[in-house]
Symmetry: C2
Subunit: 209 residues, 2 copies
């Protein structure tokens, strides 16, 4: 893949396109145009074509794209042609919800380990995964070849567990805690900040009052 720099926004849209295509497959639709996709996900058709153009030529001029074929390409591009083991740190309300979230499993993300510090939570089951003490973190990451960690601990503990994940050799972290985390450059970090999202809404609502 000769890839210089793909905008993150493009990657996010590819993920959305791929889910839309999945819908079309379920509906038995076999061919789709960039305009159809655009209408389906709420972007412009030029945007769809540009996004795809980063990775190759997948369509046929005058016709469009074969749905199953394009879907396969997108899944490959997104790295979803393989399953990913992930470790979840923090088995509180949010952590438990994510551990049981169907949407992850559907896309090939398998929560293979859940750890927590709270003795009351250790030993409980989330689906078929048992909550383990945080001391097993390094061992599990190694033995299960886990590359992605999800942080769902309170803000005060977030940097500490992040350091543990980094030390264990994790490659990417999805952070749900409302804290700015420091990680080495080699580790990919994404933040899903629930409050920030609500605050963007309240900002916009507050604008016109």
């Amino acid at each position: 893949m000769k890839v210089y720099k793909i905008p993150e926004a493009t990657v996010m849209r590819l993920s959305v396109y791929s889910r839309f295509l999945h819908q079309l497959i379920d509906e038995g639709i076999t061919t789709v145009s960039s305009g159809d996709i655009a209408r389906g996900v709420g972007v412009s058709s030029a945007q769809v074509r540009k996004d795809l153009a980063y990775f190759g030529e997948f369509g046929t001029r005058g016709v469009g794209y074969r749905v199953d074929e394009l879907y396969g390409h997108l899944m490959k591009i997104l790295g979803l042609d393989q399953a990913w083991n992930i470790i979840l740190v923090g088995a509180g309300k949010l952590g438990s919800a994510l551990a049981l979230y169907q949407g992850f499993a559907e896309r090939g993300f398998h929560v293979s380990t859940v750890v927590d510090v709270d003795p009351k939570r250790i030993g409980t089951k989330l689906g078929d995964v048992e909550v383990e003490p945080i001391s097993v973190l390094q061992e599990r990451v190694k033995e299960k070849n886990i590359r992605v960690g999800v942080v769902t601990v309170p803000a005060s503990a977030a940097q500490d567990v992040t350091d543990l994940l980094v030390e264990a050799g994790i490659k990417a972290i999805l952070n749900f805690s409302p804290r700015v985390l420091k990680v080495p450059h080699r580790v990919i970090l994404r933040n899903v900040d629930l409050s920030v999202n609500l605050e963007v809404l309240s900002f916009n609502l507050a604008l016109n009052r």
Copy 2:
């Protein structure tokens, strides 16, 4: 407020700055420079100053910003000088977790109503809020002056409950379902797509293999 167009990225950073300032207040720090903030949240100091400049001049040249003062300005700008009632639609795993999430309450977002279609969930308590049937949605929105709705239902039900929220006069929607929702222009929509976030990570990990 004479505001032309504030980049969304700016609004999101303001939210992060405000939380950082809150930390500083807890630590008893009274003055801060744009460089301090920049280091604390991982952006450039020019970025911090530009973001603030959209809204006025809050600092003193040669000195910096008064922490409590700047914090107050940011909270006002973000619309957090008032409490917001929010309605949560869908009391499944994720919905329950969000209903009980402390981070919302801390920032003045009060989950005042939770509704669901599942009879088994109706009548159960999430903290001090009782899950009610979806039929009360319109009534609750009106009587409690709710302007923000949070959608945490399965993808298949997402558009239907969104239509209900829009019809009830909701002003902004935070969507956690993996579906692209259609809303009228007057309604503000934000998506928190959990799978998309993981897929951006897997994309980046898959790049170098």
